[in-house]
C-alpha cells in the first residue's frame, strides 16, 4: 500500500522516500492544507508546480460540504478536485476540539454541532473511517481525542485511553469498508499532552495495534514552543524507524526545523496559506506584514533571496496595493509565495540531511530568519 525507505540520517533527522499508489513523497515534507477540496487560492497544477507531493483534506469539513457521499459518487476526492497525487485526510478529531461545538463525548464517539448550519453530527471512529473511505484518501487518520494544554494528568490519562480504544476501532473499521479508489493506509495518533511517560504509553498502545505510520497529535494547542519541542524530541526518536512520522498541525518555519531535527518526516499547517490571505508573508529574514505603510512605495521584491514567481514579478508596493484593495490576485500571489517558502525549507532540509550538514543549515536558516525585524505584530489571526 505505502512503503517507507530511509535514505539518510543525521542525528535524529531523517531523509526518506514514501511510496504511495498515488505518487512518491520525498521526506521531510510539508503538506499544504486543502480543507474543502482545494488548497485555498491555488489550482492543483500550481500546488504540483510548487513541489507539494502530498496535500491534506479535512474529513469534518468535506463531510459537511459538499458531503463525502457526493464525493464518492463523483469518483472520490482525487477526481473531484483534480489532484492525482497523494492525499492525507485527518479524522475530524482536531475540528471536534477546535471548531465544532461539542454536545456529547463518550466511549462510543461524539455528537457535535456543525459550525455551518448548527445541525447535529455524530462522529465515531467507524464513521470517520467510512467518510475517509468515501473520500478515497491515500492516508487515513484514526479519530482521536485532542486536549487543549495545559490539562491535568487525569484528563490526559483518560484521553490516551479513549484515543487507544478509538484507534483499535478505526483499524477494525478500515478493514471492513473499502475506499472509493482502492486500498488506503492508516496512521495512528499518539496523544499524551506534555506528560512524557503518557506519550510513551500512548505510543506503545498504537504500536500494539499496528499502523502504516504514526503521528504526534495534541501539540501546538496552547503549550509553549519549548514544551512542544521537548515532547517532540522525546517521543519522535522512539517512534518506529521504518515508518513515517507525522507531527500534526505544526507549524512555523522554526517548528518545522526543530521537528525535523527531532526525527519527524511529515508536517501540515494552515499557517502559510492562512497567513498569506491575511498579508503575513514569510521571508528569509522573518515574517513581514505586507499591509504596512512602509511598503507603500517599496519597488523591491517581497524577498530578494526568493526565486518564486511572486518575488520575480511583483513589488512589495503592488502586493500591498492588492491587499488593501482586497483583490483575489493578492491572495493568490501571497499564497504562492508562502507555500514556496515552506516547500523550499523542507527541500533544503532534506538536501542538507543527505549531505550531512542539516544542523549547519538549520542554524544558518534560523540565524537569518530571526535577524530580520518581525513587523507582523499587526497581523490578523483570522
Amino acid at each position: 500500500m505505502i512503503q517507507f525507505e530511509l535514505e539518510a540520517k543525521e542525528g535524529n533527522a531523517r531523509a526518506g522516500i514514501l511510496n504511495t499508489p498515488q505518487g512518491t513523497i520525498h521526506t521531510p515534507i510539508f503538506m499544504p492544507v486543502g480543507t474543502l477540496g482545494t488548497v485555498k487560492a491555488m489550482t492543483p497544477a500550481e500546488v504540483q508546480e510548487l513541489g507539494a507531493e502530498i496535500i491534506l483534506g479535512n474529513t469534518y469539513h468535506l463531510h459537511l460540504r459538499p458531503g463525502d457521499e457526493l464525493i464518492r459518487k463523483l469518483g472520490g476526492l482525487h477526481k473531484f478536485m483534480n489532484w492525482s497525487g497523494p492525499i492525507l485526510t485527518d479524522s475530524g478529531g482536531f475540528q471536534i476540539f477546535s471548531l465544532a461545538k461539542l454536545l456529547k463525548l463518550d466511549q462510543s464517539g461524539v455528537v457535535i454541532r456543525s459550525h455551518i448550519d448548527g445541525s447535529k453530527i455524530t462522529l465515531t471512529p467507524e464513521i470517520s473511517i467510512a467518510i475517509q473511505q468515501n473520500l478515497g484518501s491515500t492516508i487515513m487518520m484514526c479519530l482521536d481525542q485532542c486536549l487543549e494544554l495545559p490539562a491535568s494528568r487525569a484528563e490526559i490519562e483518560r484521553s490516551i485511553a479513549l484515543t487507544a480504544s478509538w484507534a483499535k476501532r478505526s483499524k477494525d473499521a478500515s478493514q471492513v469498508g473499502s475506499g472509493v479508489s482502492g486500498e488506503q493506509a492508516l496512521f495512528g495518533i499518539i496523544q499524551g499532552g506534555d506528560e512524557l511517560d503518557l506519550r510513551e504509553q500512548s505510543l506503545a498502545q498504537m504500536l500494539e495495534i499496528g499502523f502504516d505510520g504514526y503521528a504526534i497529535g495534541g501539540l501546538s494547542v496552547g503549550e509553549t514552543k519549548e514544551e512542544m519541542y521537548r515532547v517532540a524530541r522525546h517521543i519522535a526518536p522512539k517512534m518506529p524507524a521504518k515508518k513515517p512520522r507525522y507531527l500534526m498541525g505544526v507549524g512555523d518555519p522554526q517548528d518545522l526545523l526543530e521537528g525535523i531535527a527531532a526525527g519527524i518526516d511529515m508536517f501540515d499547517c494552515v499557517m502559510p496559506t492562512r497567513n498569506a490571505r491575511n498579508a503575513s508573508l514569510f521571508t528569509s529574514r522573518g515574517k513581514i506584514s505586507i499591509k504596512q505603510n512602509q511598503y507603500k512605495e517599496d519597488a523591491g521584491p517581497l524577498d530578494a533571496e526568493c526565486s518564486c514567481s511572486t518575488c520575480q514579478n511583483y513589488s512589495r508596493a503592488y502586493l500591498r496595493h492588492l491587499y488593501k484593495a482586497n483583490e483575489i490576485l493578492g491572495m493568490r500571489l501571497n499564497t504562492y509565495h508562502n507555500l514556496y517558502f515552506y516547500l523550499s525549507l523542507v527541500k533544503e532540509a532534506r538536501k542538507a540531511i543527505k549531505a550531512g550538514c542539516f544542523l549547519d543549515y538549520k542554524k544558518e536558516f534560523l540565524q537569518k530568519y530571526q535577524s530580520g525585524t518581525d513587523d507582523s505584530a499587526a497581523e490578523s489571526g483570522a
Copy 2:
C-alpha cells in the same frame, strides 16, 4: 504611435490589426477589465494565455487606490501590474456617472465624492489626462459626460456640447504632459444618447478635433437592446474607416456580435469577470447559474463544447461546491472560463469575417446560445 489596418470586411463587420508600441491587437477584440491594476482573480500570464491582447485600466479607481502618482513613481501601470501588453485607460467619465456621488458639474469639470473614503475629488479633462499619463497607458480616453437613458433632447444636446469642449481640452492636455512610458494614443468619445442626429453631430465634433480612434459612449445605460443596436448600427459605419472603433462598456455575447456586425472593432465589459464571481457562467447554450441545486451531482463539464482548462478539468458539481463554500479557486476557474468564452467569441468572429461567413457564424452562434435554458434568473447583480 498606433496604427490600424483593415484586413477584411463583410458588410459593415471588419477584421483589422491595431499595432501599438506595446503589442499587436487583432480586431475585433474584447478587452478584459482590470479596474484596480489586476483583471480580477487572474494573473497577467493567464490573461495573456487566454488571448487577451489588450486590457483596460480605470483612471478613477487607480487615482483613488493606490494613486496614479505612486504608479508613475514605480514606473507606470504596465510595470506595476506586470503586464507588458497594451492597456487602454478610461477617463473616469463613466464612474462620475455610475459610482461616485456628483457634487458639482460645470464647464470646468466635476467635483465628486470618493466611493471609498468620501473625500472630494476634482476631475477635469486636464486632470484625467494627467492621471492617464501617470499610468502610462497605451490608449487614453477623453473625459466625457455620460447620461442615463432615457434623457431629454435638451439634456443630450448639453451633454454633447460639454463632451466636445472637454474632448478639445483633453487633446490639448495630451500634447502638453508626457506619459511615463512614452507616447500615448488618445481616443475621442461620441455621445448623443438615442438621438441619431445628435450622435452624428457628436461624431462630427470629434472628427474636427481629430483622434487616434473613436469610441461610442453612453450606451448600455438604461435603453433597450434594440435601441442600443439601432444607435450602434447608425453611427458605427459613419465613423472613420481607417481608425479603430470602440463600443464602450458593452456587453453580453449577443451585444458583441451585433456590435461587430455594425462595424465595431473593440469592446470592454465587466460582465465576464463580474458574472463569474457571482456564479453566472457563459456556455454555448446560454448562461447558467452554477449555484443552482440541479448541478449538485453533475459530473459533466460546464460546457461540453468548451476547450478551456476549467471545462477540461472540473465538473459542474465541483464548481458549484467551490461557489457554495466561497472558495477563491471557484472565482478563478469561473473567471478563466468566462473570459475564454468571450475571447473565443471575438476570435471566431474575426476568423469568420476573414472567411466571409460572419453572418452565418453569428446566426448559428445565437441560435444555439438562445436555445438553452437561461437558468440564471437567480443570479446576483452584484
